[in-house]
Structures are given as C-alpha cells and as structure tokens.
C-alpha cells in the first residue's frame, strides 16, 4: 500500500457533502464513510473533517441538529441543505471535468508531438 494522500481543503468539503447525500449522519459516521469509500487512501485528520463540517454549516450548505443514535447516545447529526445539493452537483461536475482534463494531459501519448 502506498502512503495516504493529503486532501485539498475544497476537496474535503466536497467529500463531506457527498458523504451526507444519502442520509443525515453524525461526525463519526461521516469519518467512517469516508474511510470506507476511500479505501484508506486519504489522510484526513478527524479534526480537519470537523473544521469542514463547521465551515459548510456556516455557508449553509449543510445544517445540524442534535439527535439520538441507535445505542441511545446524543449526537450532532448533519444533513445537506437544498443549497448544499446544488453546490455539490456543480462542484462535482467541474471537479470531474478538471480531473479528466488533467489526466488527459498527463497521459497524452508522447509520439504525437
């Protein structure tokens, strides 16, 4: 396994939004979801993820309220707002275009030159 990749700030926000798209989650659930889906390839400090959560809340892309977990513990649950969904959609498509463009450029055949 190669060492974990650092994550850019704007990217982390996108990932967190994506984590919440299906259903509201509390902080640890988001962290677990990210671990699971990144296959452990992304190095994200938990505190950095919370920074991202608060940042997104401030921009009103997500909102939070206190709820109760399955084993009856108090936890702060986050959900994506309508504004957040729109934001995620546009940012995702532009990220994908960016990534494919960069990868196209990086993998362009040398013979063509």
């Amino acid at each position: 396994m190669t060492s974990a990749l650092p994550v850019l700030r704007g990217t982390l926000d996108l990932l967190v939004l994506r984590a919440l798209l299906a259903r509201p989650k509390h902080g640890y659930e988001i962290a677990s979801w990210l671990d699971r889906n990144a296959g452990g390839n992304l190095a994200i400090l938990d505190s950095a993820m919370y920074q991202a959560l608060y940042r997104l809340e401030k921009q009103r892309l997500i909102a939070a309220e206190w709820g109760v977990t399955n084993n009856n513990r108090q936890a702060r649950y986050y959900h994506v707002t309508a504004k957040g969904r729109t934001h995620l959609r546009t940012e995702t498509s532009s990220w994908l275009r960016y990534a494919s463009t960069v990868s196209d450029v990086l993998t362009a055949p040398l013979a063509a030159e």
């Binding site: 902080g27 640890y28 962290a31 505190s47 919370y50 920074q51 608060y54 940042r55 936890a75 702060r76």
Partner: protein, 903 residues
C-alpha cells in the same frame, strides 16, 4: 436579580437576539468530540486493540487535541455568528413580507393609520423645524460661533441676560476694541435701510454697516471677490465698497460674475461692488442683510452726520467680540466696562449703576430671547400631545384589527408559531405603518415649516430648507419610537390571547381589550381638551390684543418714508416735494385721508421740553413731540377728547396752537380743562394755546403705558421738523393692495427722488413682532386642537361603531322585543358620550393645572378662563354625539332577523 435575568432573557427571545452563550457552545463541541473519539475507540477495540491502544489511536486520528479543539471552537463561534445574523435577517424579511401582505389586505385602514401617523409625526417634525431655525441652527459660515459674544449692558442688579441695552457709540466701541483685554476681535455693526438710486428706479435695500474686522471676526469667506477688510474701514471716510448678499446678487444682477467692479449709488455716494457672500450667509443675526458696507464709508452718507466717529451721546452700534481662549467671559466684560468708563465717563451707560455683559450669541439671535421663542417652545411641547393622540388613535385601530384577526392568530398560535414571533410580526406591521407615516410627515414638516416662516417670520432671512439633517434625524427617531410604542399594546394584548376561548368565540370580543380601548379613548378626549383649551386661550389673547385701543388703526394706516437727507435738498424743497406727494396720494382711489408728520406711531421718537405758564411757578415737562399737517388725527383714526383738531387757520403767523394727549393733560392739569391754557414748546417761544386733547396714541409698543405727547401744526412747527413722513389712511377691503399705487404716487412726486418706502403700520417690525407670539400661538394651537379633535372624533366613531357591530345580536334582540328605536339610539350615543365625558373631565383638570405654563404668555386672559374651558368641553361632547350618529343609525336599523340568524 433572577427576575431581571428572566426579563432580559424574554426580551432577547422576543427580539431573537443570540441566546447561545459561549459556555453552551464549548460544551456542545466537547460533547461532539468526546462522542467521536469514544466511537472510534470502540470500533478499534472491536478490531482487537486494547482499550488503551484504541484510545491512543483514536486521539491520534483526531489530531493534536488542544490545538485542534481551539481551532474548532473558533470555527464554531464564527459559524454561529453568521447563522444568527442570517436567521435574524430572514425572520425580519419574512415578517416584513407578511406585514406588507396584511397591510395590503385592508388598504383603507392602512392608509388611515399611516395618515394619522403622518399628521402626528409631521406636526412634531414641523415644530422641530421651527424651533431648529429659531433657536438651534448656528449662523452659517461663521467659525466657532460659540466663542463669539454680543455686548449688552443693563442695571447692575439684573443678571446679564436681562440686559436690554444692546447698542453703544463709536468712541466707546473703539476704546473697547483697542484696549479691552480678553477679546481677540471686537467688531461693530449698524443695520439701516439703504436707499439705492434715484427716481422711479430707486430701491431700498437692507444694509449693514460693519467695522473693518467684522468679516475677520466671523471667519466668513466671500463666495465671489473679497470681503471688507480693515483697510476699507478708516476714519473719517473709508473706501466706498460694498459686498452683496447671494440673494441680492441673484435678484438684482442675475447672478452675473461681472457684477464685481460695478457700482451702486447709495445715498449720495457711489459704492463699488467688491464681493458676493455665499447663499445662506446672514452674519450673526437671523435677519441678515442685502449688502454690507464699511462703517466709515456709509455712516456719514446714511444720515449719521459728519461727527459720527466722535459723537458720544447717542448709541447705535451693536458690538460683537470673540473671546480669548482661557479668559472667563465675566472678567472680559468687566474689563470692557472699565475701558468704556474711561473712554466716555459722561455717557449714561457708563454710570455706576450699569454693568456690561457679554451674552452668548444664541441669546440674541432672532427671536431666541423673546416671547415668540417661549411660545414656540410651548408649542413644540404641545405638538408632542398631538403625537400622543395620534398614537392612541392608531393603537385603537390596531387593537380593533387585532380583534378581527383573533381567529387567524389563534390558528397560527395553535400551529406552533411562538408568541415572540407573533409580537414581532405585529410590531413590524406598526413599524411599517409608522415608516410610511414618517415619510409623509417629512412633507408635512417641509410645507408646514415653510408656511410658518413665510407667513409669520417674513423679517427673518431664511435660505435653507425647513428640513435639514437634524430635522431628518429627529423625524426618524420619533418615527421609530412611535411605531414600536404604538404597536406594543396591541401586540401585547394579542399575544396574551387564550387559545381555546379565541378559537371558540371567533371574532367576538372578550374582556380586557375593550377596556384598553376605552382608556385610550378617554386619554384622547382629555388631550384634545387640553390642546383646544390652550388654543382658546391664545385666540382670546389675540382678540384682546386686537381690541386694545391703540389710537391708530394699524391695519388701515400706511407710512410712507423717503430719505430726504441723502439728496441734500433744502427744507423748503423738501416741503414742496412732500406737499406734492400728499396731493397725489390723496387722489389715489381707496385713500380717504393723508397727512404729513415728523414721525408716526412706532417710528422714531422726538422729545421736547414743554413749559407751562400761568402756574405759580414755571413747570417744565418732558413730552414726545410730533409736528403734523391738519388731517393727521383723522388719518390715524385717533379721537379728539376735547376741543378741536388743527385746521388750515393754524397757519404760520397765526396765533400759536398746540394739541396735547390725554396722558399729558391729566398729568399736569388733573381733572381741570386744559383747553385755552398756554404752554411753551422748546425754549424762548411765544406761548401756544392748547386747542385740543387727543386720546393716547401708542408710540413705541402696543404694550406701553402711554407717554405724554404734544402735537404742533406743521405750519407753525417747521423748525422742529428734521424729517418728514407721509401718512395714508386706506378705506377699502384690502388696504395692502393699494400700497404700491400709493408708493408710485409718492415716488413720482418729483423727478430723481430716493426710494419711497410705503408700509402698513401692521407690517411694521415692532407691531408684527409684538403680535407674533399671540398669532403663532393662536394659529398653531388652533391647528393642533383641530387635529386632536378630529382624531378624537375618528377614534370615538371607530370604537362605537365597532361596539355596535359586536352587539348586533343584542340590538336585534332588543328590537325584536319591541324596544323603541329612540332608546336603542340613546343607548349607543350614551356609550360614546359617557367615555368622552370622562375624558373631558380629566382633560379639564389637566388643562386647569397645566395652563399655568402658558399664563405668562397670555394677554389680558386668565389661564383658567371658565368661558373657554366650558366652550371646549361643549365642543368635545358635541363632537362625541356627532361621531356616534352613524353607529347609532346603524344600530337602529339592525334587522333582527338577519342579526339573530348570523353568528
């Protein structure tokens, strides 16, 4: 303390201020982090780590704990701040949208409320604008006016602000300017009408002669060209230069910059225009001037004589000074007095009984020291009552509307809208209405303020708008306060709504709010009584003042003046010119009588020594002297009490005759008949026989105790005649309309005459100023009172007709049971009148107690005049009856069937 906290918390909740404390936030954060770390540790334990290892790993994955926590806390704080702000704004804008929808739903009521606000706030804003102009506004273009003082002096036992004497003469001024310590600049001014040009093109302007350092003292720059400097003002005769006011420049030179260097023929000298002052500049007084000239250049030509600089007897200069920093005013004034005593030991005002005072500028500006400003202050205070009446009226209307919306509000409450939000909804509505009213109020202030000034203060130079930043700020504050206060009662009442009963009873009223509305009605009636009472007192004062027998009909008599000194004609020539003018003026349609005289009522005063013969010893008396042509008394409208008027037979060379006034006759002859007695006027004259006794004619003030006066026929008293005036009596409906014809007739009596000025005595500055406080009080209190009365009428109408609507079923039942229509109507009217009567009684008490405030401002009128109070009470009760007529009519015509069938 706990109560206070609870209240503070309640207020914060109502206004949705941020309740979350830093402690709460920190606790939440810690809880969240703790939960996270525990969860991760638990998962790691499930994977086989020991609890210690799991915890260490979880902490490591979290990041450096203390530092991260600190940064997270910071983020959370900034997040909360932004969210609260957005939240508040969204609540507000949703409230505003909701309120707008509500207001649009009943546009008539909304307009009525906004208009009521507009009148209430507008009256206050207009009064503030008046007060602002009279008392608060600092002189324009004058630097640091607070360090400029005006000289005055008066008897030692009076305090400085009671010093009435404001003028001194040139030698004293010069001494004070050069030698008194404690002032940096000491400047002198003399205001005088200035005749410009000759013949038909002649004009009069308001001039101000100023010492060379005047503009330096003020720190005022010219808009164009330059101001007068010390080099222009040199004794005995300074530079013939003149500075124009902006208005004069605009109206006479079309605001042409080439006016600089052109000349004006003032008196018998040619003055060059050197500058134009900026618009709104009026020097240190509110009255302002059209042009400014160096003292030394204008004094001699404008009739002050060649010895103006050394003449030590009269007083004519107003003196202003800028204080030296750090020197107490009182000490500086004392030193000025010392200098004045040295300079003019013989002058009456340097005697030991007299004292100098240096008054703050604001005390001499405009009317500030006078009665008009006292009346204006009372009016401003009273305008607040108008606002209160308007507020209680609006509160009543809002209450009524709140009641009609009870079901809607109950539903909203049931749906979980918090009472705080509800209150803020209702407050937003009243605030919006007040805002609307406030905007209209500015128009009211603008027009109202201007009307007051153009009608009552024509002598003040008013350049700037009635509405300035201060008026704007005042209106804004009043508007906001009004909106919130007015909305508070209805909002509070509505928010106390009991859900169950409101949903059940629908829109029918229960309990306390009807009581609140009656209390508001009572208050309105009481305030209306107070205002109307004040209005009545001032109207009566004005009437008393109008009834005072002045000995002259100021509304019919005009005085024509022409400054003959400036054309340097001989006495004989002047006589011929005035005789021609008299002849022409008499022929003007509408003129019934005309006369020539040395002076006229409220004009300059000439004194004379009158010696009485035929007594045991010679008695020398003082009297005011006038020299007059035969028709003078008929022109004034003054009555002869005894003897005869002068006639053509009292010619030069004929036996000398004299007319004395009642005051003089009783003072020296008591009850005896003075006719036929012989007196000397002046020294060394053959005696003149008293041929008539005239009623007392006011000389200098409509309030004066009459002075002793004697009159000589023109033909025999020429040697006392230094100045001539034309007096004209106009007998038609509109005397002011004839003035210009009279003026032209006088102006063209001979070619090349200086400007002929013709003015009704009623427009004389003295007369107008003396009438003004009463006029101001009568007019504005009248407006306030009528406003309050109509608001009260609307209020009574609203409440009673609402009550009738509420009691429709009851009325239906009564009528169905055979009640007389008459008794139903009485029932309704009685209700309205009863509430009003309580208000009237309270108002009468308040008025009787409160009228002490205005008692010193009234003329010959008791501040507890029962006649006025009785009339006001009757008017109010009658208004209540009238206001009840429509609701009563509606009650009488209730159809029992429909009333009983409906809910």
């Amino acid at each position: 303390m706990r109560h206070l906290d609870a209240i503070a918390h309640g207020i914060r909740r109502v206004f949705r201020l941020e309740i979350r404390h830093d402690g709460d936030r920190e606790r939440e954060l810690d809880e969240e982090i703790q939960f996270h770390i525990e969860q991760r540790a638990a998962d790691l334990i499930a994977l086989g780590l020991s609890p210690e290892q799991a915890r260490a790993e979880a902490l490591a994955r979290f990041g450096p704990y203390d530092e991260s926590r600190e940064r997270l806390l910071e983020s959370a704080r900034s997040r909360d701040e932004v969210l609260t702000m957005i939240d508040r704004f969204e609540n507000f804008s949703s409230d505003a949208r909701y309120a707008l929808r509500q207001l649009a739903r009943s546009p008539g009521l909304s307009a009525a409320i906004a208009l009521t606000f507009a009148l209430g706030i507008g009256v206050n804003a207009a009064m503030f604008a008046v007060i602002d102009r009279l008392l608060l506004r600092p002189p324009a273009y004058v630097s640091h006016p607070e360090t400029i003082t005006a000289f005055a002096y008066g008897p030692k036992d009076k305090s400085a602000d009671q010093h009435f004497q404001r003028t001194m003469n040139y030698p004293v001024y010069k001494a004070v300017r050069d030698r008194a310590r404690g002032f940096t600049d000491v400047a002198a001014t003399f205001d005088t009408p200035v005749p410009i040009g000759r013949g038909e093109a002649a004009q009069n302007a308001r001039g101000l002669l100023v010492s060379g350092n005047y503009f330096h003292l003020l720190g005022a720059p010219a808009r164009l060209g330059r101001v007068i400097g010390p080099d222009d003002d040199r004794e005995p005769s300074g530079e013939a230069v003149v500075v124009l006011s902006y208005d004069y420049w605009t109206s006479h030179f079309g605001a042409d910059e080439r006016a600089l260097g052109r000349t004006l023929d003032i008196a018998n000298r040619r003055f060059t225009i050197i500058g134009v002052m900026p618009p709104g500049f009026s020097g240190l007084t509110v009255e302002g001037a059209d042009l400014w000239m160096p003292l030394s250049a204008g004094a001699a030509p404008l009739g002050l004589g060649g010895k103006w600089a050394t003449n030590n007897l009269g007083t004519w200069l107003r003196v202003f000074a800028r204080q030296q920093p750090g020197v107490p005013v009182a000490r500086a004034a004392e030193d000025a007095m010392r200098v004045a005593r040295e300079a003019a030991p013989a002058a009456f005002f340097t005697g030991p009984r007299w004292n100098f005072g240096a008054l703050p500028l604001r005390s001499i500006r405009g009317e500030s020291a006078g009665m008009t400003s006292s009346v204006a202050r009372v009016l401003a205070a009273m305008s607040f009552i108008v606002l209160l009446v308007a507020c209680s009226n609006v509160a009543n209307l809002l209450l009524a509307r709140g009641l009609r919306r009870r079901s809607e509000i109950a539903v909203r409450l049931a749906l979980g809208v918090s009472r705080g939000r509800l209150v803020s909804h209702l407050l937003t509505e009243s605030a919006l209405l007040a805002l609307l009213g406030g905007v209209v109020a500015l128009l009211v202030a603008y027009w109202g303020g201007n009307i007051v000034f153009t009608r009552l203060f024509t002598d003040l130079s008013v350049h700037d708008s009635a509405v300035n930043v201060r008026v704007l700020a005042f209106t804004a504050v009043v508007t906001i306060a009004t909106g919130v206060l007015t909305g508070l009662i209805p909002a509070w009442q509505t928010s106390r709504l009991e859900l169950g009963s409101a949903l059940r009873s629908g829109d029918r009223e229960v309990g306390h709010s009807s009581r609140t509305r009656s209390v508001l009605l009572v208050a309105q009636a009481a305030m209306a009584v107070t205002l109307l009472f004040a209005a009545g007192l001032f109207v009566r004062s004005l009437a008393h003042l109008g009834d005072v027998r002045l000995g002259v009909d100021v509304d019919r008599v005009a005085v024509g003046t022409m400054d003959m000194r400036v054309v340097s004609r001989t006495q004989a020539e002047a006589d011929l010119i005035f005789a021609a003018a008299l002849d022409r003026v008499t022929k003007v349609p509408g003129v019934s009588h005309a006369a020539i005289a040395a002076t006229s009522p409220f004009g300059a005063a000439f004194g004379a020594n009158v010696t009485i013969h035929g007594r045991d010893s010679l008695v020398r008396t003082d009297a005011m002297l006038n020299v007059i042509s035969p028709d003078y008394f008929r022109t004034l409208g003054a009555r002869m009490l005894r003897g005869r008027d002068f006639a053509a037979s009292d010619a030069e060379g004929a036996p000398r005759t004299i007319v004395v006034n009642e005051m003089w006759a009783t003072r020296y002859y008591g009850a005896a008949n003075p006719i036929g007695q012989c007196v000397d006027v002046g020294d060394s004259l053959p005696c003149a026989q008293i041929v008539g006794v005239l009623e007392n004619v006011r000389r200098q003030s409509i309030f004066e105790d009459s002075t002793g006066s004697v009159y000589l026929p023109l033909a025999q008293g020429r040697r006392f005649l230094s100045n001539r005036q034309l007096l004209v009596r106009i007998e038609n409906r509109h005397p002011a309309g004839v003035l210009e014809t009279v003026r032209l007739a006088m102006q063209t009596a001979a070619p090349g005459l200086p400007y002929a000025d013709v003015q009704l005595l009623a427009d004389n500055d003295t007369v107008r100023r003396e009438f003004r406080p009463y006029r101001l009080g009568a007019i504005l209190f009248g407006v306030f009172g009528l406003l309050a009365l109509s608001l009260a009428a609307v209020g009574i109408y609203g409440v009673i007709s609402y009550n009738v609507g509420q009691r429709r079923r009851e009325m239906g039942v009564r009528i169905a049971l055979g009640a007389q229509r008459r008794s139903v109507a009485t029932l309704v009217v009685r209700q309205g009148v009863a509430v009003t009567a309580v208000g009237v009684a309270i108002g009468a008490l308040v008025a009787l107690v409160g009228s002490r405030v205005v008692s010193s401002l009234l003329y010959n009128e008791s501040a507890r005049d029962p006649l006025v109070l009785g009339a006001v009470m009757i008017v109010l009760l009658a208004t209540a009856v009238v206001a009840c007529v429509i609701p009563a009519w509606r009650a009488v015509n209730t159809d029992p069937v429909t009333a009983l069938r409906s809910d």
